[in-house]
């Protein structure tokens, strides 16, 4: 019985391979986008964890300098001799040409035994590790990146190391970084001895830092990953629309068969189990395909994601993917879960199918009026929720709740809005054909509404994200123009060269402005403090968002500081507030400036204040003011006469294009996901139209019989699809703009700490509208062509067949 019932049920799919295809493809696409995003996020998080776990930072306390600067290893020796079991770490950036890595130097002798990653200690030999040239360990990806780079010790692979990190002995690292005798921090061994001098008396400049305190990267990048997750979820939802409509349709079409099976004695439970089993089977097959696609998506996008993360946050994520079992399990689970959600309604209807009631095809459509009311009610509720979150919500999660509620409300309200519009059109139109067209369109709406909702979501997301990116780009470009006002930026290798450089430039340039900075904790979080000279360059160009009167005079006099927008928002500081600097002094905040693309807090003070506060500040970087037409000559002179390496002199344009490159990179992934979502939505439209077209013959045959040609009917079908797509675009536009507002004013502020002005780009909307029409048109083209080629006998059969 089971076999007979099963083969009867499955036979439906043999007869409707397209439906089967759209079901499987929809599910596979949904799974693919979701699991692809998950794989990317997982990979990135793994890297952060790895970085955080490295040297036991997630478990071990550390002693870190209060001012964030390196300190003498004499402090380390003093602590050891005061009974503190600590192990020194030196960290720093090492660069050769365009290759940049983070060197971490440890002392393997005092480091807690389980601190170093696999393969770093163990069977190795200590002597080559600690004596020059030393031995480096790095992740295999990092080693391949460093191929051909000279100056580092011989490298061995170690899987446990974060990407972009080279681990070596502390002595070797100090030499490579040019900081002999200096260390960055101390790892505290878990078991400390009986007697110990208090930290304040031995090393008053150090403070204890709790385990995991360094996982800032994970916190900073949270917003980015939440963004990706939101996109993945959106695509997943759009994919599920396809699955839902395919399964619902299949159920409707099999209604007579189900009734017959019940009538010949197949128990309801058996039928339910068989149908559920069918769904699970499809979910598994589609899930596997989806996972494969997801892997491809992730592998393709990951290099861009890695570039973004490193450009925006300085977080190192490898460009290649390694997958964990949890990813596979999660992906398959989401496929099955998605299919279950999509099939739930159909199975529920099966349970309630009256045994002897006549099969009613399209009953699903007839019940739609009630469904529509429910949907409108739900949409209203979601809209209220979105409004409430917009008013009272705080933080990133609230931002995404707002986005989700807004999008769902708009999608759910769409069919009702379209029905209203179509009803209106029907009322104002004249002539039988026009009346029939509007009525017929309205009648088709329930069958198409899911696909239209999907299209609307994709369009709104496109408008929203597109507006955000374009607004950001516009603001960012303007900001770069202000911020990069100097003609040349030069970098010296060391202090001696820097001093020579200053005297070389003095007679040749209009001004040489120091760009000296230290990394130091600001308001309890990692930040940077810059010292600037008093110069018109800043007074005229610096992008201040708000400022007190006489701001530049106050800064130049060493009485006031400027803070970036991020710091101002995070710490709740504004003009007139006092800012506490790492050395304990306090300064009034006289201005807040925009600082896009920087996740950290930043402070600007007068350069004399900076050098007084941090006497060891590297005095290497300078901005040079010169008449623009003289800049190329000076560049040449710097390279040829002075002997500066070409890498160390950059003109304004080069830095701008580099910054814009980083910016564009940041949104590559967003753009790619946007396109994919549009693709899925277009596909949803196609499958809906295709399935509908097979069922619409009974409604079209009478119109044909009344004299409308097949070609004309087909043209009307095409027009209908285009019109619906156009209307959907019109509905999507305000939603997309709302979305853009939420992204710019809520999500961006919560995620990055900066607010951006919103700009509108009607030309983009036009392009998108055309794209929507194209998607709708393409989706309708095939069904329309099929209709035009339907043989008259098929249309005649409609009248002969008993329905």
């Amino acid at each position: 019985m089971y076999r007979a019932a099963l083969s009867a049920l499955l036979s439906h799919w043999w007869r409707h391979p397209l439906q089967l295809g759209s079901l499987l493809l929809g599910l596979a696409l949904a799974t693919a986008l979701w699991s692809g995003v998950q794989a990317i996020n997982g990979q990135a998080r793994q890297s952060y964890d790895q970085a955080a776990r490295m040297l036991g930072q997630d478990r071990l306390e550390q002693l870190v300098p209060k001012d964030g600067q390196r300190f003498s290893q004499d402090v380390y020796i003093a602590l050891r001799q005061a009974g503190w079991l600590v192990s020194p770490v030196i960290e720093g950036a090492w660069q050769q040409g365009d290759v940049r890595v983070r060197l971490i130097g440890i002392d393997p002798v005092t480091a807690p035994s389980d601190v170093a990653p696999d393969g770093v200690t163990g069977a190795g030999d200590l002597r080559p590790f600690i004596t020059p040239p030393g031995q480096g360990f790095a992740a295999p990806d990092t080693i391949s990146m460093l191929r051909g780079v000279t100056g580092l010790p011989p490298l061995s692979p170690s899987e446990g190391l974060a990407p972009g990190v080279v681990l070596m002995d502390i002595g070797i690292a100090q030499t490579l970084l040019g900081v002999p005798g200096e260390i960055s921090r101390l790892v505290v061994v878990p078991e400390q001895p009986f007697r110990q001098a208090p930290l304040e008396s031995v090393a008053p400049l150090l403070t204890k830092s709790a385990p995991g305190g360094q996982a800032d990267i994970a916190r900073l990048t949270d917003s980015f990953h939440l963004n990706l997750t939101a996109f993945g979820f959106l695509s997943f939802a759009v994919g599920l629309f396809i699955v839902h409509s395919a399964i619902g349709l299949a159920f409707e079409q099999r209604r007579p068969m189900l009734r017959t099976l019940r009538a010949v004695g197949v128990p309801l439970n058996v039928l339910t189990v068989l149908l559920a089993g069918e769904v699970v089977l499809f979910a598994l097959v589609a899930g596997l395909v989806g996972m494969g696609l997801g892997y491809l998506i992730a592998a393709t996008l990951l290099p861009d994601v890695a570039a973004t993360l490193s450009g925006l946050y300085g977080a190192d994520v490898p460009g290649s993917l390694s997958l964990r079992p949890s990813w596979w399990i999660g992906g398959m689970a989401i496929a099955v879960l998605g299919a279950a959600v999509a099939a739930g309604q159909s199975l529920w209807r099966l349970r309630r199918l009256p045994l002897l009631a006549p099969a009613q095809p399209r009953a699903w459509a007839r019940a739609s009026a009630r469904g529509l009311r429910r949907q409108v009610f739900l949409a209203a509720a979601l809209a209220v929720l979105a409004l409430a979150v917009a008013i009272w919500g705080r933080g990133l999660v609230a931002g995404f709740v707002l986005l989700g509620a807004m999008l769902m409300a708009a999608a759910l309200a769409l069919p009702a809005i379209l029905a209203l519009l179509l009803g209106g059109a029907e009322r104002v139109s004249k002539g039988a054909l026009a009346l029939w067209f509007w009525a017929d369109t309205r009648q088709q709406l329930p069958g198409l509404s899911l696909a239209l909702m999907a299209l609307m979501l994709a369009l709104a997301a496109n408008v929203g994200v597109g507006t955000m990116v374009a607004s950001f780009r516009l603001t960012f470009t303007g900001w770069l123009d202000q911020r990069l006002a100097s003609e040349l930026y030069v970098n010296a290798q060391d202090e001696a060269e820097a001093a020579r450089l200053r005297s070389f430039l003095e007679p040749r340039a209009d001004a040489v402005l120091p760009i000296w900075s230290v990394s130091a904790p600001v308001q309890g979080a990692p930040g940077t403090i810059y010292g600037i000279a008093d110069h018109a360059t800043y007074r005229e160009n610096w992008p201040l968002l708000s400022h007190a009167p006489g701001v530049w005079d106050a800064v130049a006099a060493g009485q006031a500081a400027l803070v970036n927008e991020q710091l101002s928002r995070r710490a709740g500081l504004s003009n007139g507030d006092m800012l506490r600097l790492p050395d304990g002094t306090e300064m009034t905040i006289a201005g807040v400036y925009s600082d896009y693309g920087n996740p950290q807090g930043q402070v600007i003070i007068a350069v004399d204040e900076l050098t007084a506060m941090f006497p060891d500040v590297p005095r290497l970087r300078h901005a040079v003011r010169i008449a623009p037409e003289k800049a190329p000559d000076l560049t040449r002179a710097l390279i040829e006469e002075f002997g500066l390496s070409p890498d160390n002199v950059r003109d304004q344009a080069a830095i701008k294009s580099f910054s814009l490159g980083v910016f564009e990179q940041t949104f590559t992934v967003t753009a790619a996901l946007n396109v994919l979502t549009m693709g899925v939505a277009g596909f949803a439209m196609l499958t809906s139209l295709l399935t509908l077209s097979t069922m619409r013959l009974p409604q079209l045959a009478p119109v044909w019989a009344l004299g409308l040609t097949r070609a004309r009917l087909a043209r009307l079908e095409l027009f209908r699809a285009l019109m619906l797509a156009g209307l959907t675009m019109c509905a999507a536009l305000p939603v997309g703009l709302l979305l853009a507002w939420a992204l710019l004013s809520v999500v961006n502020v919560a995620a990055f700490g900066w607010q951006l002005p919103m700009h509108t780009f009607p030309a983009d909307w036009l392009r998108l509208g055309l794209l929507a029409l194209l998607a709708g048109g393409l989706a309708a083209l095939w069904p329309a062509v099929r209709l035009a080629r339907t043989s008259p006998t098929d249309l005649l059969k409609v009248f002969a067949h008993e329905r």
């Binding site: 050891r80 393997p108 002798v109 005092t110 030999d125 200590l126 600690i130």
Partner: protein, 346 residues
């Protein structure tokens, strides 16, 4: 003797135990070798000899508390050169290891410290004498007047040491042979310390006094490749006589023995292979290994036939290279107390 542990780093030569205990039996190319006839000079030789591969400053003390209980204290600083060349700063190929032990009749405390040479975390200077690793030190104006401190997770001690006798050169004027095939080390001792100080125990401080014995030894390859471990004793006998003796156990079951009879005035009379007999009488399960904790020690020429019994069988030094080291009581032909060290019981 005092071919004490070492450690040569787990990293030094792959499987550390492949050749003798702690890699002590491995080749010593490029390092200086002890030569017979070389005259030791003090205080210079109290300091480090970085051109030799291994070296130690090894102090053991038998103490009695005001509470009448017996205690034992060990303080050791090992130096191991990874290479004969002398780099500077972090590049110096010198590794230092400190071991501290404190034995009571029912507890045994252990602490270990590791350090790189070249950056000031550990080292030894000859005059004024200072041997240190981290906050542990053995230091004083001269070797005759020292302050000894160590600090572990659950114990610490702070002892004053005063020598009331001369240094004792072991073997042939400080040249101590360790095997029939001629491995040797430079070896001298100061066995005449009286001790006064405080032990910090989890239950509170205990004032103690007693005797201590310092061994100094350096070499580049002190063990024959066939020698698997050793049993070493330093004994304070009644009447002021001291005795040092050791046997190096060979893989074939035999042993190479040696030692020195030290008169109360410091006159040393070394004895060669085969004179001393050491026979285990009783073993105990210590850290999963069978370790002899009672020994019969015979030196017929001196009328010595004594039984050594451990104050605490569990005096296991659970360090990077583990071994047994603890105070013993002496009974039989002579009475007194001393220290026993046993390595290579795997």
């Amino acid at each position: 003797m005092n071919v004490k542990v070492l450690f040569i780093w787990v990293l030094l030569s792959g499987p550390a135990f492949a050749q003798g205990f702690a890699g002590l039996g491995t080749e010593a190319s490029g390092f200086a070798r002890p030569e017979r006839g070389q005259v030791l000079s003090f205080p210079k030789d109290h300091g480090a000899h970085p051109d030799y591969r291994i070296e130690w400053w090894y102090l053991t003390a038998n103490l009695k508390g005001e509470d009448g209980r017996d205690y034992g204290v060990q303080w050791t600083l090992f130096r191991s050169a990874l290479a004969p060349d002398a780099g500077q700063g972090w590049a110096a190929p010198q590794i230092w290891m400190g071991h501290a032990g404190l034995t009571t009749p029912d507890r045994h405390f252990v602490a270990e410290r590791l350090a790189r040479g070249g950056v000031g975390q550990a080292g030894v200077t000859a005059a004024p004498f200072r041997a240190w690793v981290d906050d542990w030190q053995m230091a004083g104006a001269t070797l005759d007047d020292l302050r000894l401190t160590a600090n572990g997770t659950d114990f610490a001690y702070d002892l004053g040491l005063k020598a009331d006798g001369p240094l004792v050169l072991q073997g042939d004027g400080g040249y101590s042979v360790k095997s029939a095939s001629g491995q040797a080390s430079f070896y001298y001792s100061q066995p005449f310390y009286t001790v006064d100080g405080v032990l910090d125990l989890p239950d509170g401080p205990v004032r103690v006094s007693g005797n201590a014995w310092l061994d100094r030894e350096w070499s580049s390859q002190p063990l024959d490749e066939t020698q698997r471990g050793w049993d070493w004793v330093s004994l304070h006998l009644e009447g002021g006589v001291r005795m040092m003796g050791f046997q190096l156990r060979q893989t074939d079951g035999g042993a190479y023995t040696s030692g020195t009879w030290i008169m109360p005035d410091g006159t040393a009379e070394p004895f060669g292979d085969g004179v001393l007999t050491m026979t285990p009488l009783k073993t105990a399960k210590v850290n999963g290994r069978d370790v002899p904790v009672q020994w019969r020690v015979e030196l017929p020429g001196r009328g010595v036939d004594v039984t050594l019994g451990a104050l605490n069988n569990a005096a296991w030094m659970d360090t990077l290279f583990p071994y047994w080291e603890g105070p013993v009581g002496i009974s039989g032909s002579h009475t007194g107390h001393g220290y026993l060290e046993m390595t290579g019981y795997d």
